[in-house]
Amino acid sequence: MEDSVEDLYQHLIIERARAPHHAGRLVHIDGEAEGNNPMCGDQVHLMFARGDGDVVQEFAHQTHGCAICIASADLLGDVVLGRHLDEITSTVDAFEEMIRTGVRPTRRSEFDKLAAFAGVHAYRSRHRCATLAWQAARTAIIRMMEAHHG
């Protein structure tokens, strides 16, 4: 079994699903968003705190759902911390594109880890599990930008 698990349930995914690094709540929240998939009961709640210049300084999530969903919310945390909101939006686009196509984007170092999810592409019915947190992230970012600039 171990070999066949490789393509979809990479160790990274299992580990993060079992013991997420970013699970929890923030005290100070600059932006947040929820996502849920009534079809399977997946729920995510993302929280962001921002430093100067639209850079994410803190991140936490509370995720209820399958391993793919939890791990993807958690790895989202890895790539948002210390990064500019604009950059994050482009990673979100690239992540969704990877799920749609199954192809890992080139020249994006954050995908060294995120590529673990490329195998989800083959399971159209799991796409939503992988992208739920990322769609919520997009919403949260838009809210933060609006609050800041407009």
Partner: protein
Amino acid sequence: MSVATALSGCLDVERIREDFPILAERVHDKPLVYLDSAASAQKPRVVIDVMARAMEKQYANVHRGLHWLSERCSDAYEGARDKVARFLNAEREEIVFVRNATEAINLVSYTFGHAALEPGNAVAVSQMEHHANLVPWQMLRDARGIELRIVKVTECGEIDFDDLAQVFADRRVKLLAITHMSNVLGTYTPVERLVAFAHAHGAQVLVDGAQAVVHRRVDVRALDVDFYVFSGHKLYGPTGIGVLYGRRTLLQSMPPFLGGGDMIGSVSYERSTWAEPPYRFEAGTPAIVEAIGLGTAIDYIQGIGFDAIAAHERALTDHALRTLSGIPGLKIIGNAQDRGGIVAFTLNQIHAHDVATLLDKQGIAVRAGHHCAEPLAHRFGVDSTARASFGIYTTSAEIDLLAAGIERLKKVFS
């Protein structure tokens, strides 16, 4: 293309498996273990062949074709109706071809529901209905101002007859719409008892037979039901075809559902008159080839015989319940006295989606989610379950593979 024979009430599964081409397929380079028959059953060679042959040799539109191909194709289509009628012990005029069980229930809701029910009346369904037998009644409620009442199911997954009595107490329930077998709990409902009860309280009964009709002989006269619905694709037949049985007098009293060709008596620009049932309810070109395929599927399973099918299912279900309940952390939802070949379960901390995907990686096809019965899942305090369901081609060795597969995937998460 052999039709499996029943051997002393018991079924020769290996011979039956040869009738189903797909069972020889491999998935992720492992032999396919198909445990999702409750979602849709696989098709025997005879069904696939009869459909191809209909299109290769005798295809034309049906009814009033006046030419040879159309006459032969109409004979085959109407012959399928005769087969369904005999299968259910009904009259051919009582058999309406639809797309699936879902359309059949909606047809009753749009016709009987709108014509026979009035504000103040109520429709009752149970807590264990498939969305197909819940949502149409919610829509009718909102359109017609009737009430929708939900009959509780007990913790073991059976109809709560005390609650049923309460729901019917004020005699405002005019229709009981209830499943014959739950697609999640595997529970068979006691239809005869329910029908007697409902009729005594002045209500008609629609029975959703989508699951039950696959496993047990259904006699609509003996059950005394008013409507009975099922889908072809779960009965080893084609997609795109389903059946509404309606008591003759009821069908005759109902207005049409869809308007168009074939369902009319005569048409002028000003007004139209309706054909007699069943044609009143079959507008436009029907699913001709699919109806013919369904007729052959019925021949096929009758060739095997429901005694053998029921015995096989009982043995498989007992084996599955015994084997799976021995797995630590595995919890089976529902344990009705009278239950069939559907087992939904949760597995400790592991989400049902992950269970399904990791089983799939081992070639084992199960379903995960709320199985189109979302409120029922919540009733049992879960979001989703994994579900294994059995057909005539399922072997107990496959159930052992399922159990072994579950043990292996648990290791991944440990």
